[in-house]
C-alpha cells in the first residue's frame, strides 16, 4: 500500500517574480522536480512586430523592471547589427558605464535585501537590518549609487529613457557625471567591505559539474561584446547561438526553457559563470579581493554566487570610476543611419547572465520578427538539475526545512521570473510506500 502525502509550504519569496516548485517523492526516491513558472505571458515577441526600431528599446525595457538596461542593450546592439551601424568608442564606453550602474543596483539589491537574509536566519533585508544595521545601511547606499548613475546617464533608474539605436538621445553632462566621483570612490571601498562580509557566511557544501556559459572578450570583463565561451566546449560567435542553444516549452511553465541543442544538456549563466570564465579580466581591485578571499576558480558551488556578485560590484565600481574620470565627450549624441531590411542578433551580459536578442527589420525600419532568450529561462533547467542532486542531502529533515533549503538553492540563482508572474509555491508531495 502506498500512501501519498502532499505538503504545501509557503510561497518562495525574495525572488523577482513568482512561480512554483513541485517535488514528488516515493519514499526517498525523487519522482519529479518541476520548477513551475506561472508567469502570465505578455507576448513581447508578438507585440514588437510592426513597431519602429526606435520603439524597441523602450518596449523591451518593460520586460524587466530590475534589469531594463540589459534588455535595452541587447536589443539596441542586435538592431545596430541588422542596420550595420557602428557606434563610436565613446558611445561604447558610456554604454558600459550604464551597464555598471545596473549591475551595481541589481547585484547589491540581491546581495543585501534578497540573499543575505538566508545566511543570517532573517526573513527580510529589513529584519536583517535590526541585527546588522551598518551592513544594511551600507548596502542601501551602494544600491543608491547604482541608481544615481542610471539616472544621470539614462534619465531614471527604472526604465531609463536615454538609450537609443545609434547612441544616446542626449550626451550626458560631464559635470553631472563627474559629480558622482566622490560617491563612487567611497563605493569602491564599501563594495570591497560588503564582499568581505558576504564571503564570511557559511555556505552549504554543494559542488556541481556545470557547463558554464558567458560572453568573453580578450581585453575586458564581458558586458556588451565578445564570443560565447564555455568551460567545456570551444567558444562560438554570438550569431551561432541559436544553432547551439535552443528554447523549448514544458507543460509546467510559461517560461520557455533552454538547453544545448545536440546534447540536450543544461548549462549555467550568470555571475558565477562569468567570474569563472573571465577572472583574469576583472578589475585590479576585484582581482586582488578574489585572491585575498581565496575565491578559487572554477568555483562550482552555486551558493557562493553571492561572492561572485560582490566581486562584480567591486569591478563595476572600479570600471565606472575610470570612465567617470575620463568622462568621454559624445559628439554627436547619436549617429544618423538609414533604414534597410536586414537581420541582426546580439548578446549582452544582464546581471543574471547572457541575454540574447535577434531582430529582422524591413526597409521602413519596422520590426518583422524577434527572438528573445532571457537568462532565467536558460538557467531554469539547471535549477531543476541542481535540485535533483541537492534533495537527497536534505530529505532527512522535516518537510518545511527541506523546502526552505530548496528555496535557498533557487534564490542563489537570483532568478528573474518577474518578466511576469504568480505564486511560487513549494509543494512537496511524498508518496510513502
Amino acid at each position: 500500500m502506498s500512501e501519498s502525502r502532499s505538503i504545501n509550504v509557503k510561497a518562495l519569496t525574495r525572488v523577482e517574480g513568482e512561480g512554483a516548485l513541485h517535488i514528488r517523492l516515493a519514499g526517498d526516491a525523487i519522482e519529479a522536480v518541476e520548477l513551475n513558472i506561472y508567469e502570465p505571458p505578455r507576448y513581447f515577441e508578438a507585440l514588437l512586430r510592426g513597431r519602429s526600431v526606435e520603439d524597441v528599446p523602450d518596449i523591451t525595457a518593460r520586460i524587466c523592471g530590475i534589469c531594463p538596461v540589459a534588455y535595452q542593450m541587447s536589443s539596441i546592439h542586435a538592431i545596430e547589427n541588422a542596420l550595420k551601424i557602428r557606434c563610436s568608442p565613446e558611445t561604447r564606453s558610456l554604454r558600459r558605464l550604464l551597464y555598471c550602474g545596473e549591475w551595481i543596483e541589481s547585484h547589491v539589491l540581491h546581495m543585501h535585501l534578497l540573499h543575505a537574509p538566508d545566511f543570517l536566519g532573517c526573513e527580510s533585508g529589513l529584519e536583517m537590518g535590526q541585527s546588522y544595521p551598518d551592513e544594511l545601511k551600507r548596502g542601501l547606499r551602494l544600491k543608491k549609487h547604482g541608481n544615481q548613475l542610471l539616472s544621470v546617464l539614462g534619465g531614471r533608474s527604472v526604465h531609463p529613457i536615454n538609450s537609443t539605436v545609434g547612441g544616446f538621445y542626449r550626451a550626458p553632462s560631464r559635470q553631472r557625471l563627474q559629480k558622482l566621483i566622490p560617491d563612487f570612490e567611497w563605493g569602491l571601498q564599501a563594495a570591497i567591505e560588503a564582499t568581505r562580509w558576504v564571503a564570511g557566511f557559511e555556505f552549504p557544501e554543494f559542488q556541481q559539474d556545470y557547463e558554464m556559459i558567458s560572453l568573453s572578450h580578450p581585453d575586458e570583463y564581458p558586458m556588451n561584446e565578445g564570443e560565447i565561451a564555455s568551460n567545456k566546449r570551444p567558444a562560438i560567435s554570438v550569431d551561432r547561438f541559436e544553432q547551439e542553444f535552443q528554447e523549448y516549452q514544458v507543460p509546467h511553465s510559461t517560461a520557455l526553457q533552454a538547453c544545448r541543442v545536440k546534447e540536450n544538456s543544461s548549462y549555467l549563466v550568470g555571475p558565477l559563470a562569468r567570474v569563472n570564465l573571465n577572472r583574469d579580466r576583472l578589475s585590479a581591485a576585484a582581482k586582488r579581493l578574489a585572491d585575498e578571499l581565496h575565491f578559487e576558480t572554477p568555483c562550482t558551488n552555486i551558493f557562493r554566487s553571492i561572492i561572485a556578485r560582490g566581486l562584480e560590484v567591486v569591478h563595476a565600481y572600479e570600471e565606472a570610476l575610470g570612465i567617470l574620470r575620463r568622462a568621454p565627450v559624445l559628439t554627436p549624441a547619436k549617429i544618423s543611419y538609414d533604414y534597410h531590411s536586414g537581420e541582426g542578433c546580439a548578446a549582452t551580459e544582464a546581471p543574471r547572465g547572457l541575454l540574447y536578442h535577434r531582430y529582422a527589420v524591413d526597409e521602413a525600419g519596422l520590426v518583422e520578427k524577434t527572438q528573445i532568450i532571457p537568462p532565467t529561462s536558460q538557467n531554469q533547467l539547471q535549477i531543476e538539475m541542481d535540485l535533483i542532486r541537492f534533495l537527497p542531502g536534505v530529505l532527512n529533515e522535516d518537510d518545511q526545512q527541506t523546502a526552505r533549503d530548496c528555496e535557498r538553492l533557487i534564490r542563489s540563482y537570483d532568478p528573474c521570473i518577474s518578466c511576469s508572474t504568480h505564486f511560487l509555491k513549494l509543494d512537496i508531495e511524498r508518496l510513502e510506500s
Binding site: A11, R42, N162, R170
Partner: protein, 272 residues
C-alpha cells in the same frame, strides 16, 4: 476611502504588495526608496510583499498596493480575493491602471500571438485581453507612471497612513518642462511629443533628454487628444507613426485608446 488605522490597540497598519502581469519595476520603486524604505518598515507591518520578505501574513490588510494587469482567468479570481482582504487598495503603475504594454494584445489576434511566441499554446491559460484593475474591482486610488515616481509612492503611503487623501498634480507634462526650463521639443524642433496630453509626474523627463514624451503617466484630467493629433498631423507627422505613439504603455487608457482607434480607422479608410 476606508481608514487604514487599526483603532483598537494601535498596532502598526498592515501593508501588502500584490503583483499581477507586470515587470516588477513599480514594486522595485519601493525598494529603491532606500532611506525611506527603513522608515516605511518602521511605520508599517510589511505583511505581504513576496519580493522583499519571507514573512507572509494573511489578510485583512490596511493598505494594499497592486502592481500589474489582469491577463489570466486565475488572476481575475485572485484580484477579487485581494480586494476583499484590503481596507484601502491602491494601484501602482501603468499596468495596474491601464493594462500596460501587454494591453497591445487587445488589438491583436490573441491565438496568433500565442502561436508566435509558444510552440504549445495549449499549455497556456490566458485571457485575450490585458485590463486594468479598476475594470474588475473598486480601486481607492491610482498612482500613475511606467514606472511610478518613487517620491510620489512614498508620499502616497505617508498620506494614507495619516488618513489624508493623496493629491498629485493632474496637469500636463508641458508645465513640468516650463518649470524646469526645458525648451519645447515639439514647437522648436518638430519632435512629436505627448507632453500636452500626458499627466505630470516624471518632471518633464524625455524632453529634457531631447526626445518627445511617450505618455508614461497616462492622460491628463482633460486631455485634448484629438486637438494634439490634429496639430501633429498638420505638422507632417504621419498617422502611421501617431497611432503607435498613442499605443504605448498606457494604450488602454480611454482617451489614448479612443483617439488611436479613430486614427487607425481613418488610416484604414484612406487605404481602401
Amino acid at each position: 476611502m476606508g481608514s487604514v488605522r487599526n483603532s483598537k490597540n494601535r498596532k502598526k497598519p498592515k501593508l501588502a504588495v500584490f503583483k499581477f502581469a507586470s515587470c516588477d519595476g513599480c514594486q522595485l520603486s519601493l525598494l529603491n526608496a532606500e532611506e525611506d524604505l527603513v522608515s516605511i518598515g518602521e511605520a508599517v507591518e510589511i505583511s505581504h510583499f513576496l519580493e522583499a520578505s519571507s514573512h507572509v501574513e494573511v489578510g485583512p490588510y490596511d493598505l494594499t498596493l497592486v502592481e500589474g494587469s489582469i491577463t489570466t482567468p486565475g488572476d481575475r479570481e485572485r484580484i477579487q480575493e485581494v480586494r476583499k482582504q484590503s481596507r484601502v487598495l491602491v494601484t501602482i503603475g501603468a499596468c495596474a491602471t491601464a493594462g500596460g504594454i501587454q494591453a497591445l494584445r487587445n488589438w491583436g489576434d490573441h491565438e496568433e500571438f500565442q502561436q508566435a511566441v509558444y510552440p504549445h499554446p495549449e499549455f497556456l491559460d490566458t485571457l485575450a485581453t490585458s485590463t486594468a484593475i479598476s475594470d474588475h474591482v473598486q480601486v481607492d486610488f491610482e498612482l500613475r507612471g511606467c514606472p511610478v515616481n518613487k517620491k510620489q509612492l512614498v508620499e502616497l503611503i505617508t498620506d494614507i497612513l495619516h488618513q489624508r487623501k493623496p493629491r498629485f498634480p493632474r496637469h500636463a507634462v508641458c508645465l513640468e518642462c516650463k518649470q524646469s526650463g526645458t525648451v519645447c521639443v515639439a514647437v522648436t524642433r518638430g519632435i512629436p511629443c505627448l507632453g500636452p496630453i500626458t499627466q505630470a509626474g516624471c518632471g518633464g523627463l524625455c524632453p529634457g533628454y531631447d526626445r518627445g514624451c511617450y505618455g508614461c503617466f497616462g492622460p491628463t484630467a482633460q486631455a485634448n487628444v484629438s486637438g494634439l493629433s490634429h496639430w501633429l498631423l498638420k505638422h507632417d507627422m504621419p498617422k502611421t507613426e501617431l497611432v503607435p505613439l498613442l499605443r504605448n504603455f498606457n494604450a488602454g487608457a480611454t482617451p489614448f485608446r479612443e483617439e488611436g482607434n479613430r486614427l487607425a480607422r481613418e488610416q484604414d479608410t484612406e487605404l481602401e
